[in-house]
Symmetry: C2
Subunit: 121 residues, 2 copies
């Protein structure tokens, strides 16, 4: 298995949880301690620590090694990989939206035509 593939596996698995995504969102505005991170979630410290371990293993956060205050910070490099991976499919979602757009325009045109016919009767 390629290393990139392995990274995407662990990154996607780590991101498949709303608490972990919320932790990343909080860390996007700056470093903070595990206690500060735990506050909004009404979770036990071990539960938060478990989520942090998953994020750390996926390379999405790093935790300081200071004895008292172990600040967590976000590491966005895997998120860049996620964005780039998803971007490969941009053509497909844009084509779909283009087709939907054409369909809606045709529908509107038909309705207008139909409306005019009705009024002209």
């Amino acid at each position: 298995m390629k290393p990139t593939s392995y990274t995407l596996d662990t990154t996607f698995a780590a991101l498949a949880d709303p608490t972990r995504r919320a932790i990343l969102a909080r860390l996007a505005s700056g470093e903070c301690s595990v206690t500060e991170l735990a506050e909004p979630f009404e979770m036990t410290m071990p539960a938060v620590s478990k989520h942090l371990r998953v994020l750390e293993r996926a390379g999405l956060i790093a935790q300081g090694r200071e004895a008292q205050w172990r600040p967590c910070r976000i590491k966005a490099a895997p998120l860049k990989e996620v964005a780039e991976w998803a971007e490969q499919y941009r053509d497909i979602w844009e084509q779909r939206l283009d087709r939907l757009d054409i369909y809606l325009q045709e529908l509107t045109a038909k309705e207008k035509k139909h409306g005019r016919r009705k009024r002209s009767k």
Copy 2:
């Protein structure tokens, strides 16, 4: 839980597997049958079908209902959501890369200075 959050959960979970990502890559070039999809993976049909069910539940593929040939096609809308979600963090990864760039420039400048000093001795 918000519906978007729920969708991202199932999308990310579905994408955390290299076979499922390879299936999406294959479908990006056009519809194909389950048999055709199974070929490159050396997997049993039930194993492939299981992956397809996960992708279908996540809204990433749709499967035709024709009795004989049930063509699979990619549905890229959840991938658009993934790209948009990751894009929120672009500032962070670009800042990091900017900082790395500045650091490397400083390092190169220092080395040049050092090199000149060495040569002038």
